[in-house]
């Protein structure tokens, strides 16, 4: 398998990262190198195996915990918004989405 420039554009779009033509060319070469290294995985027989998501699940049953459905956080709106690039009246500002 080998990626082409269009694949890099598609991935960059999926990842919402603008890339320049120079970056596209470099990324194409590097990603193809990475995927030729990753390709060895395809030869491994994994028939009947379950994917392992939580590593400890190999030795003990793991399941995601649920907490009681109660309010635990007090309001920290101001502290939580300190890092916002643009804000007004306690709201995050973004460019107009609907005309």
């Amino acid at each position: 398998m080998s990626l082409i420039s269009d694949d890099i554009h598609r991935l960059a779009k999926l990842a919402r990262i603008d890339i320049t033509p120079a970056e596209t060319a470099r990324m194409l070469k590097e990603l193809n190198n990475i995927f030729s290294m990753v390709e060895t995985l395809q030869a491994v027989d994994t028939a009947g195996l379950e994917p392992l998501c939580h590593p400890i699940a190999i030795v003990q049953k793991m399941q995601l915990r649920l907490r009681a459905d109660v309010v635990t956080e007090v309001e920290h709106r101001e502290a939580n918004m300190v890092n916002a690039p643009q804000q007004e009246n306690g709201l995050f500002l973004v460019p107009k989405v609907l005309e």
Partner: protein
Amino acid sequence: MTRDFSSLHHQSLTQLRAALDTKKISALELAEYFLVRAETNTDLNAFLHIDRDLTLAEARAADAQIASGNITALTGIPIAHKDIFVTQQWRTTAGSRMLENYVSPFDATVVEKLKTAGMVCLGKLNCDEFAMGSSNENSAFGAVKNPWDRSRIPGGSSGGSAAAVAAGLAPAATGTDTGGSLRQPAAMCGITAIKPTYGTVSRYGMVAFASSLDQGGPMAKSAEDCALLLDAMIGFDAKDSTSVATLDKYKTPISARLLTAFALTSRADASVSRPLAGVRIGVPQEFFGEGLSSEIAQAVDAALAEFEKLGAVRVEISLPRTSLSIPVYYVIAPAEASSNLSRFDGVRYGHRAAEYKNLADMIGKSRAEGLGAEVKRRILVGAYVLSHGYYDAYYLQAQKVRRLISQDFQEAFKKCDFIMGPVAPTTAWKMGEKSNDPVAMYLEDIYTLGVSLAGLPGMSVPCGFGHNGMPIGLQIMGNYFEEARMLAAAHQYQLATDWHTRSPEAFQ
């Protein structure tokens, strides 16, 4: 009158404790001493953010604690945090332009726990951007230099942490390990570090890279120091969804078991000179094959011989899928990274481009400007392996091979108590040597990735030097929740050897 504290920077935490307890030094003086060292050794680029007022305020609070008599083993001892742990007072950048001016509204659980234990924060340490890298050259704020040779890399991604401890700019540091980021820089800078079992140290407030692999841990001068730090870091945290429930194994402090961990099993032939009698050390043949530098093979072999002198026996084992851990890791970690890093959109926090046409343009430009080359590379790899049509072939296949790799470790642990081998195939390389070849850099991680994928504890212990004068690390791998016995074994090794006491000439 100034008192002479000239040799404090290479003392163990236990020695610093004794100095504090006997009033030879105050927490304030100790903090000032390390601040000055950090401020005068900026050429290493180990620290990203120092704020002496904040540090000295914490030191004064520690002195008040000491005066009141209500102390822990760590009260008044300074520590610096990898800039992956968020801190409410110091900026947190994760080594990225994206977070250049970010100030967290809360402290990471690890930061909070160490503060509660009375430790004094010296500031934040440089690292590869979002912890992605093996050389620390991926930091947006410049590479960290190795204190043993400033033309060489310190390893990564916890390179600032390793360099700071090796140079005596901090007596201890926190780090994180996703594929070897605690163990490899520790090996390359000649210090001791442990990545505990996945889920034992809270990930809350650790800027996420690959959530099923990320694990925080301590870096210090010795196994004894790491044990003291780990005791304060470990514990169930409801704020981390994959935190493991507190186990009986951790009820007695690990640091209190350094000399007794092996007394628990009755072994007829154990003695003072052979404290590890009967302990089986598995040596995986796959860790000694092609690619391993001969001087590292020799240093590791000499370390194993030392363990034999202490009574341990070598057992040959096999981890047949060692080489597969590289492709598995470089599918799973980028997949999780591409998902985790989607949060950086320039809306709620982080960098926002100055000019843009619309929302999509704003996000695309902000991410292009805020993220570095390696991070973009991994995000694109992740986007590919998670995308429609490739998910099963890459991501799910990698998760299945991950199971096989984990099973291999469990098979191996039927034959041995620990597994030992090298941490990295080479000693620290020259800056720039591998930075244009990502795959060459990935291959360097071969010995550390398996433990990460399996979520097992792994540590690095200094065991010698290469011909270039660069440190070599021995990797000790244990089964799940075996940190106490690993640290106890490493402690016995360090009682019998002095590699861990060596420090770089320029920083003595």
